[in-house]
Symmetry: C2
Subunit: 345 residues, 2 copies
């Protein structure tokens, strides 16, 4: 059963040593580039190893060296939000590039499950843990994680000691607003939601600052609820009902809200982008790309946050103290131009 079932037993370090006519110690050194092995010996050992198809048993190596080469990734929402996938993908790529494997574990926001999952990770002797909380913002980092290097994604450490990475919300809002400004718009509204939080608050600030710097009057519309298409339609309705001069461009909190604006605009006979320019945030592909016209939006740095987290965790493992990394790192968003922003006629 198991590995041996289908035939020959796997080749081990001893097989390589015998075939190369050296000790297993030398094989170990040659393979890992440690100790002092002559170049010639190292080459030969590696050739023999390759020809035999030898791959060191990571379990045995982990037991001895106390390095599992596994990083745990704890998420509260891999299934619930499509964004989580991009973070995992970035982490995955970075981990693979550094010879680490990623164990992804999901609590679906249930703290009992989360505790159990983290315990399983610790029992597996993971080298580090990435803790991504897409929903609950100000996180008390679980005590279980104190014995292992930990990095936070999309949330910050209340105690201010664990390194964390979040999108640069202000920069995102400034970039979005500036894009509209650059197209010649001056009556630009920000459609957001009334539920406070780092993303909502940061984007409002960035928007207001940019408008003010340009000598323009900011207009923020914030219906209750979460940022979905319904909120987008509602915000649009509030804007139309407000009586004043209607804006020629809107900066939406996220792509689903922008989708709601599309729906409301089409009903009101307002053309995008001819009568109204729209910009979103997320670059949530199946939505942003499939809208008609395609939605111009600010891509959130999900992939990049995943990479940053792995790199930082590995640096901590290699002896860098947490303090050496920025404790609260921010990553910029990137403009993705499609067809929903047009110059003012």
């Amino acid at each position: 059963m198991g590995r041996a079932a289908s035939g020959s037993k796997p080749v081990g370090i001893e097989d390589v040593a015998r075939a190369a006519g050296v000790s297993i110690t030398t094989v170990s050194h040659a393979m890992n580039g440690r100790g002092h092995v002559s170049v010639k010996t190292r080459e030969r050992v590696r050739e023999v190893a390759a020809s035999l198809g030898y791959a060191p048993n990571r379990i045995a190596s982990a037991l001895r060296s106390q390095r599992s080469h596994i990083i745990g990734f704890v998420s509260d929402s891999i299934a619930t939000t499509p964004y989580a996938g991009r973070v995992v993908f970035g982490a995955q790529d970075a981990a693979a590039a550094r010879g680490q494997l990623l164990v992804v574990v999901n609590s679906n926001s249930d703290s009992a499950i989360e505790t159990a999952q983290i315990s399983a990770l610790m029992a597996q002797q993971v080298d580090a843990v990435i803790y991504a909380r897409m929903f609950h913002r100000d996180s008390d980092t679980p005590a279980q994680l104190r014995s292992v290097p930990t990095v936070l994604i999309d949330t910050v450490d209340t105690a201010g000691v664990i390194p964390s990475v979040v999108p640069d919300e202000q920069q995102i809002a400034r970039l979005a607003t500036q894009t509209l400004l650059d197209a010649g718009h001056t009556r630009i509204a920000h459609l957001t939601v009334a539920t406070p939080g780092p993303a909502v608050d940061g984007r409002i600030e960035g928007y207001i600052a940019t408008m003010t710097d340009a000598g323009l009057e900011p207009v923020v519309v914030a219906p209750p609820g979460i940022g979905n298409a319904t909120a987008g339609r509602e915000a649009f309705a509030q804007l139309a009902a407000s009586g004043g001069e209607t804006p020629t461009a809107v900066f939406c909190f996220n792509d689903p809200m922008a989708m709601g604006v599309y729906q409301a605009a089409i009903r009101a006979g307002i053309g995008i982008p001819d009568d109204l320019s729209v910009i979103g945030v997320d670059d949530f592909l199946p939505v942003a790309a499939e809208l008609l016209p395609g939605l111009t939006t600010i891509a959130l740095p999900h992939y990049e946050m995943g990479v940053w987290a792995i790199d930082t965790a590995l640096a901590m493992l290699d002896g860098a103290r947490a303090a050496d990394a920025h404790v609260e790192s921010r990553i910029a968003g990137r403009l993705v131009e499609r067809g929903s922003v047009a110059p003012l006629a």
Copy 2:
């Protein structure tokens, strides 16, 4: 560095043995429920272990028992398709319920990367591998996987020996078509794409069979390309241009195509669902739920396929031969009713 950095060393089996006044063998037996340990002793050992916060070192246990309690999940597209996340989530849940961890590895359709990633999994002594190919359909299963129980998702083994699970495309098409039939429609078209494949072909077959059984004339429109909003708009245009009686309901290959139909219909002044009923396939949430009206669709059994794959792999590990499982298992889709299907007036 490492686990010990932040203070006391982790508690091991020996600490428990000492505290409970028994041998480490007895602790091992008590914890794993093996061997012959008196109930009383077992209870006491477990209490002591819990009070000390003991968790067996999985690495050491894996080395000795040849069971890593890790399952590898190889995907070609975790980032590229949002669906992949739901499969991983199902696999994750099932794995956690059975005390296994899931290592997710992604090739992004690059076969060199895939080979390297699978090697890393094998070196990590994974107990089994789930191999999910969302893009390439008829897969030659990598030779590296021959020494480990393997289960396929969304693809079938050309050699017909490795267990696999795919959505039941025919059932999905029948359910979609029947839903429209039940609402009183008789002129029902199927909007799909001209690119053949198991999903496209199976759904066409299921649609035609259902229509024929009902004594109705099937109408299939298949523009070139992949199933996205553009294809949906194009299919809708072909339908309108075809001259005959226009259908009162359309069954779309997937949700993005249905989104395209929404876009085309609104431009043509056709109301959904009053003038036209629409049904999709995927239940791709941010799209299906946010459309106006919400899209009635057939949810693909992604989560369920993930669960099935883990359960089957674990059964194989426990000695069941591959032949004991269905070699080609099909899982049904589920109707999700929203607002895009209405009874014929």
